[in-house]
Structure formats: C-alpha cells, structure tokens
Symmetry: C2
Subunit: 100 residues, 2 copies
DNA sequence: CATAAATATTCTCTTTTAGTTATATTTCTG
DNA sequence: CAGAAATATAACTAAAAGAGAATATTTATG
C-alpha cells in the first residue's frame, strides 16, 4: 500500500493526526475513533505496511509511533503543485509555463 | 470524492502531472496513459467531481485544465507533518512536543 | 445528409476495501 | 496458575473501485 492509498482513508488520517502528538497505545486510538477494536487494528496494520507508523511492545500494549518519512513521497508529489496557489507571482509563472 | 481519494490512484496522479504543463484534450491523456479511452474518461469524471480539473468544449474535443485549488486540502493536511522531516531543529521541536 | 472523429455513458465482471463478530495470542495480576 | 486486559487474526459480508467492451452523443466534414 502506497502512502497515497494509506492516507486516502479518513480514519487512517485521524490516526496519523493523533500520533503527531507522540507515541500512543492502540487502545487510545480505539477510544478516539468510533470504530471497533479490530477495525482500528487493521488500519494500524496497513499504516505499518505503508511505513507510516512503527510499533513497539510495552507489556500487553502496543505503542504506535508516527514514521513521518513515509509521507515524504506524498510531499514530493505535491511539491510541484504548490506554486500554483502560492501567490500572484507564482500565478504569473504558471501562466508563462503553460502550453509551452 | 475527496482530493485524497482522487489522488490515491496512480493514473489520476499521472493525469494531473500532465495537466501541470497546461490544458490538454482528453485524447492526449488517452495516448499518454496505457488505459482504454473509456477508462481515462471515467478518471477524468472523478477528477472533475473532486474539483481537481475543469473542462471546456472545443469543437468535438474536451480540453481539460488543472484546478489546483482542490489540492489545497491535501496541502493543508500535510502541512503539520512537514516539519518532522524538515531539519534537525524541527526534529528537536518534535521531540519537545511529544507526550505533552 | 451521411460518415468520421472525439468523447461520454452503460453494462458487466473482478478485485479490493472497510467493516463486523468471533476467536486466538500474549502478558499482567491476584 | 486462573482470569482479565490488550491487541491481533480469521472468517464473513457488503459496498465500492477499476477495467474493458459495446454503445450513445456531439460536432466536424465531404
């Protein structure tokens, strides 16, 4: 699963948003997400496979942590679009490079 | 369809990437995309519904144009993650705000 | 006006996704 | 060591996504 697909699902974005504040046990995410425990567990598995989070064991808990490097791919794709909405100067540049 | 879902599909990203260079007829996109004409047409419809492209008629052609404002939502979501990989100072900030 | 060109729409099929319930696994605790 | 707590996995279901073939629609052209 690519980061693009991983991030397309709202619950998975919510998980990442929570993990921005720091490492959290799976249970916290279940509590936050209006989803069944297995449902959250599966999303976490996908996020792991996409390289967007990592886990470590802490007793019977699993602590999930954001692995933000995985988002670089998204960032890299988006980068060339950024100047389109940046400012008027960029809009001019856009116009100039159009239909070359 | 949200911009997130729209952009999750590789052919649709390819379409947007092509349109960055400027307005293009649907046929050009079909030629570029190793996909059937109806397949491309359907992706274009989804991109239109997601607000990422616009169309105008030109005779029997349909000229598609990038509508980059739609990507702002993606950009906005991604923004708070950017500092995670920006540089060492950001990494420190990340560490400090963790587990608050 | 008949045909061609460009594109959209419909139908059908297959695969994937997201969700649930039930069950298994692991670790902690009395 | 028995039961509880936390999480993962399995099995199943329903809905959605993506693709192709066939067809419709619209506009241009001889």
């Amino acid at each position: 699963m690519t980061p693009f697909e991983a991030v397309a699902e709202p619950s998975r974005r919510a998980i990442l948003d929570i993990l921005r504040a720091g490492e959290r046990p799976a249970g916290d995410l279940v509590a936050a997400l209006a989803l069944s425990q297995p449902g959250v567990s599966k999303h976490l598995k996908l996020l792991r496979e996409a390289g967007l989070v990592s886990v470590r064991a802490d007793g019977q808990r699993r602590l999930y942590r954001l692995q933000p490097q995985g988002l670089k791919e998204l960032e890299a794709w988006l980068a060339p679009y950024r100047h389109f909405w940046a400012d008027r100067l960029a809009a001019l540049g856009d116009h100039l490079e159009r239909d070359q």
